[in-house]
């Protein structure tokens, strides 16, 4: 998908070129995103051919994908669960001393603890909300940092070209060839864990793919006539990158960012599982799972399954949404 020409956004002034849309599912590669006949495929006279229409048009195709709507629903519910939940269902999640005074450790579900307690006596339902906050915040924030940095890096690399481009892309090649968890652990060892550093460190191993994607887009965009026109009119390089190249790559960037949130949540969960997650008293789902695994031999299933289900649900939800966004992007491209 890297330097692919398929990802060519709308030429702004090429309005009169109308094509009959390809039937969906024509190629063997189309897997999901079944659309009801017609609807989004019929080009509607000229409208939504500007960059502003991209997101609107993608949105329309998106809502027709049922899995994506379910995924979006799961994400919204999970955010509410983690951030509003603790206000409706307050539990003590920070003071281990106090907790042990009024609850037993490793208590099975029931009796005031709907999902039981963990080895420290923390209420697991409440802890899922508490740990979910860190998982979601780190996931969102590192995906955001990685996407923004990768986009700027890729746009600069593709726009300036020549030796500068080669140098920047070799850096990406090198970092991509280091197995990600090894790099991540090396960084975490050197720059000790705190929530902010974890965000930056996860972003540091994640900006490489958007850099490549946006570079590919930039390469195909920078020789377009309208970009040449801006240049002839005396538009600065910053203006071309900021006002023309990045806005035209926005579809690709949004799709990437969605998948990246899922990946970042998984990376943090993996770090937490290895015992290198957010430091106490804060916790995250990976750390919770790892604590539960220590007790796996004792049959404390409630310390493992709810956490595992939360991680998988959120990751699958973001992947469904990302899939649907990518499909809607492809549909938009086919419409031209």
């Amino acid at each position: 998908m890297t330097d692919s020409d398929d990802f060519r956004p709308d030429p702004v002034f090429n309005d009169d070129e109308r094509q009959t849309p390809l039937p969906i599912g024509a190629g063997p590669t189309m897997t999901s995103g079944q659309l009801s006949e017609g609807d989004a495929l019929v080009p509607e006279g000229g409208e939504s051919r500007s960059t502003g229409g991209i997101l609107r048009q993608m949105g329309r195709v998106f809502v027709e994908n049922k899995l994506a709507v379910v995924g979006l629903g799961v994400i919204v519910l999970m955010v509410l669960f983690c951030f509003v939940g603790p206000h409706l269902y307050p539990t003590n999640q920070t003071d281990a001393q106090l907790v042990l005074q009024d609850s037993t450790s490793n208590a099975p579900p029931g009796n005031g603890n709907p999902l039981g307690t963990d080895s420290n006596g923390y209420n697991i339902l409440g802890r899922l909300m508490f740990g979910g906050q860190a998982s979601l915040i780190v996931g969102f924030a590192s995906a955001l940092v990685a996407t923004v940095f990768g986009t700027l890096y890729g746009a600069m690399s593709g726009f300036f070209g020549s030796w500068f481009d080669s140098l920047l892309m070799r850096v990406v090649d090198v970092l991509l060839s280091i197995p990600v968890l090894f790099l991540l652990i090396a960084l975490v060892t050197i720059y000790h864990q705190s929530e902010i550093l974890l965000i930056l460190v996860i972003a540091f191993v994640s900006w490489l793919v958007p850099a490549r994607l946006v570079r590919g887009e930039t390469l195909s965009l920078r020789n377009r006539e309208y970009v040449q026109a801006v240049r002839v009119m005396g538009g600065s390089r910053t203006r071309i990158i900021g006002r023309h190249i990045i806005p035209n790559s926005v579809g690709t960037i949004v799709v990437f960012a969605t998948f990246q949130i899922a990946d970042s949540i998984l990376l943090l969960a993996a770090l937490g599982f290895l015992g290198l997650g957010v430091p106490a008293p804060q916790t995250d789902w990976g750390t919770m799972l790892s604590n539960g695994v220590d007790a796996a031999g004792s049959g404390y299933w409630w310390q493992i399954y709810p956490t595992g289900i939360c991680i998988v649900l959120v990751v699958v939800a973001f992947n469904y949404v990302g899939d649907a966004l990518r499909d809607s992007l492809e549909v938009r491209l086919q419409q031209r």
């Binding site: 063997p28 197995p179 060892t189 050197i190 599982f273 595992g308």
Partner: protein, 318 residues
């Protein structure tokens, strides 16, 4: 073919040099400096200065890098672990083969399973078995490996007692062949994600091959559908799998780190995480460098196999 090989090997060399530079820079960018990382935060300026002189840390950065590279290539010197009190190379020494056999066996098994699965899905495409396999491959793809490993331990080791919880701690690198039962769960965990992605790829790659002109020609000649499928389409669909394998290697090696930690198998991944707990930065950087070089060599081999297998490259003048 030679052109391709030279370019591809050159590319691998650039990556290796880049990784050496990155691990070197990471050591230089330790907050507080390398000396404090070894001597502890309470070290006096005098002891820090003496440590710096002894280890050449007072030299200009380019001289330090040159000494680092020279040490690496001339003496395979990866630095010194003050926690283990021996060279990083000695610490890594017996652990690298363990990770290599684990990854090698898992990759081999995932290919053995994924290729027939992909073919089965093409033969029975859009039938229930195709949908079932597609759904389960998405499931395994979305399943984090640490969770899958944990669940396998709970179900098949604790509850059913079919397999041991972990391989013996003194297992040698060859134990995976002599005592396969102990390695079933780790290998299944590591192979699951690759089986999912390889079989998906195999399916679409077979479909693409079946849509090609040469398949129509073969059919027109009157070749049986078996022969078209296995003689023509399969041979062409298998080649791209090698590229995918080369590209997936870093991810598989990352998976091995998780698997080693879940199953307590003393390879590079377990060593890295334990050293992270010990703040043993030289070992962490050493394992990162060595495992990356191994991964780069693995990807390079996959690409060379690809070039040998694909007549368009093998016979190409370029």
């Amino acid at each position: 073919m030679t052109g391709f090989l030279i370019r591809r090997i050159g590319q691998a060399l650039v990556v290796v040099i880049g990784v050496i530079l990155i691990t070197f820079l990471m050591a230089k960018l330790i907050p507080g400096g390398e000396a404090k990382a070894v001597l502890g935060p309470k070290a006096t300026p005098v002891t820090v200065a003496r440590f710096n002189v002894q280890n050449g840390l007072n030299l200009p950065i380019w001289d330090q890098f040159w000494r680092y590279v020279e040490g690496l290539f001339a003496h395979l010197n990866l630095g010194y672990s003050f926690k283990y009190n021996q060279g990083v190379r000695q610490v890594i020494g017996e652990r690298l083969p363990k990770t290599l056999t684990l990854v090698g066996v898992s990759v081999f098994i995932s290919l053995i399973i994924a290729v027939p699965l992909g073919i089965l899905q093409v033969v029975r495409r859009n039938k229930p078995i195709d949908y079932a396999l597609t759904t389960s491959s998405f499931f395994f793809y979305a399943m984090p490996d640490f969770l899958l490993g944990t669940l396998l331990i709970i179900w098949f080791a604790f509850d059913l007692h079919w397999f041991p919880v972990s391989p013996p701690t003194d297992a040698s690198a060859w134990a995976i062949f002599t005592d396969p039962r102990a390695f079933v769960l780790p290998v299944v965990t590591l192979a699951a994600t690759s089986v999912a992605s390889f079989s998906r790829y195999m399916r679409s790659s077979m479909m693409d091959a079946l849509a090609q002109d040469f398949v129509r020609t073969a059919r027109a000649k009157g070749a049986s559908s078996r022969r078209v499928l296995y003689g023509h389409a399969l041979r062409n669909a298998l080649i791209p799998i090698l590229t995918l394998l080369g590209l997936s290697l870093p991810a598989i090696v990352s998976g091995a780190l998780i698997v080693e930690n879940v199953f307590n198998y003393p390879g590079m991944g377990l060593l890295t995480v334990q050293s992270a707990f010990n703040d043993d930065i030289p070992v962490v950087l050493g394992t990162t460098l060595v495992i990356t070089v191994a991964t780069v060599i693995g990807s390079l081999m996959a690409d060379i196999l690809y070039a040998v297998a694909d007549p368009r490259i093998r016979l190409g003048s370029d």
